[in-house]
Symmetry: C2
Subunit: 269 residues, 2 copies
DNA sequence: AAACTAGTTTCAAATAGTGAAACCTGCAAG
DNA sequence: CTTGCAGGTTTCACTATTTGAAACTAGTTT
């Protein structure tokens, strides 16, 4: 949660309130929000009014409840199409899913967390935490570690500092040092494992999706259970998943630089 | 596009810029935005910076391009689940789709336009404009007219004033008067037709989704082609669609008013 | 009727936003 | 080389907007 103490002005506060409303699965009352937000009554009230007037929230006067608004629904849809790897990756995920028959995840980094942007269920589905649109921890998931491993070194410390280091299972890596060691191995090997670090009995292989410049765009993973597979089995899938990640990366880059690709000096990041 | 002259403060401007970025299907340069926005260079610059800092936009320094940000992608999922009729209607759309085998649309009103929030393709798909997440004109689509017809009279004039009245086909109603006459017929009949008014060869029946208070929540339609059906055929589906719309309305209302418990307020904020 | 709760409005103080203009920077033409 | 120019970024005085304590209103409960 930790909200948004970054003093970026009114806009930041308004967006903070949006998140607050989004955090609830159902319509929220004014006073609920008041309790959870750091803003005084009058300020919160005005922010809500503005957001409603803007169509980002909608207000039901009968119930006195706020919900995310229709304008956000529209924007969000465009965002999904335009900004995530999901639309590009969709057919490839379908293919991968059909080929391996296990759960497939496509994720991107959102702040210091993992955002699952798309998912395919296993032929024989397993109940697990992840869900398209949900966020999860980065330090103890396959996709998370795959992405962290290839981040520029300057960004890492900041991100590690934001992890919760909660011990989900007895295999969870709960210190930056332990994670760093794993990240080095991942870099060397090219793919990450999740060895029941987040949920017991759930294991996965993940590969990063990297631009030609080496920038982390996202990650792709295949997940299974200890009952069905071993890490060794999953490791054998790594080359296939890697190829697909590569394809996604290439297509994403072509898409990002249309025809007017100004050969603006790409200094390395 | 007439932007957003509503003087609601900085937040409004920031959201306006968001929309501007969303309006482009691809990454945009600063100067493109500058040309399209009413804001002076410095102001636009600061707005963009804020939005990037907030994760609502993302900026690629290499290409100097802005895209919708990952934070919006995250909001997308919640917005869809929480704010639209889509999650409630999903199983019902599936059923309707299976039963009639034609294209099914679920739409809501966004400002003065129609926002398609969900869609099922016909068994034998037809290429047409609509797409989930896209907006379309209200005055010449079945769902649009079904919603307009049941709007409070006070709102109508404002909405009609915002229509483009573009003549898409020779059957398009291009004046408020012609539309008003059709709306009266729709109110009397309970369902709306689209008689090739938006795309040639495409026809549909639509019914509004109304709350018990008579408020317009959305609309539901079944679309076909003149090659396959006639308006008469579609009219026979109206009762079925109406029932489903009714069910959606009821469930939506139950969902919106979950608590009658009024839990003893815990003070302390 | 009094006491409370939940939401809305006011108003002076001050913060935060504004935008013209100056300023960079890298590229291209002179 | 150096000059000009087109993005893009920063400055700064001016002022409109935001702020939040407190007062207020409308409903409910005691």
């Amino acid at each position: 949660m930790a909200a948004n103490p970054a003093g970026d002005g009114t806009v930041a506060k308004a967006l903070d309130v949006l998140d607050l409303v989004a955090a609830h699965a159902r319509p929220v009352r004014f006073s609920d929000l008041l309790g959870e937000s750091p803003y005084p009554k009058a300020t919160l009230y005005r922010l809500l009014q503005t957001l409603v007037a803007q169509g980002m929230l909608s207000y039901d006067p009968g119930a006195g409840c706020y919900t995310l608004g229709i304008r956000l629904v529209r924007l969000a849809h465009v965002a999904w199409q335009q900004s995530s790897l999901a639309p590009i990756a969709r057919p490839l995920l379908d293919r991968l899913s059909a080929e391996v028959g296990e759960t497939v995840h496509l994720a991107q980094l959102d702040n210091a967390q993992v955002l699952y942007v798309d998912k395919r269920n296993a032929r024989d589905p397993v109940r697990m935490y992840s869900q398209a649109g949900k966020v999860g921890p980065a330090y103890c998931t396959g996709v998370g570690k795959a992405m962290l491993a290839f981040l520029p070194e300057t960004h890492l410390p900041g991100i590690l500092a934001q992890q919760s280091w909660h011990r989900f299972t007895d295999r969870t890596l709960t210190t930056p040092e332990a994670l760093q060691a794993d990240l080095a191995a991942i870099r060397a090997r090219g793919h990450a494992f999740d060895n029941e670090e987040h949920e017991p009995g759930i294991i996965c292989v993940a590969v990063p999706i990297l631009s030609t410049g080496g920038q982390v765009l996202g990650a792709l993973s295949v997940t299974s259970t200890t009952a069905r597979s071993s890490l060794g089995d999953l490791a054998r899938l790594a080359p296939l998943i890697g190829d697909i990640a590569q394809t996604i990366a290439t297509e994403a880059e072509n898409w990002r630089f249309p025809e007017h690709s100004t050969p603006r000096t790409r200094k390395r990041a």
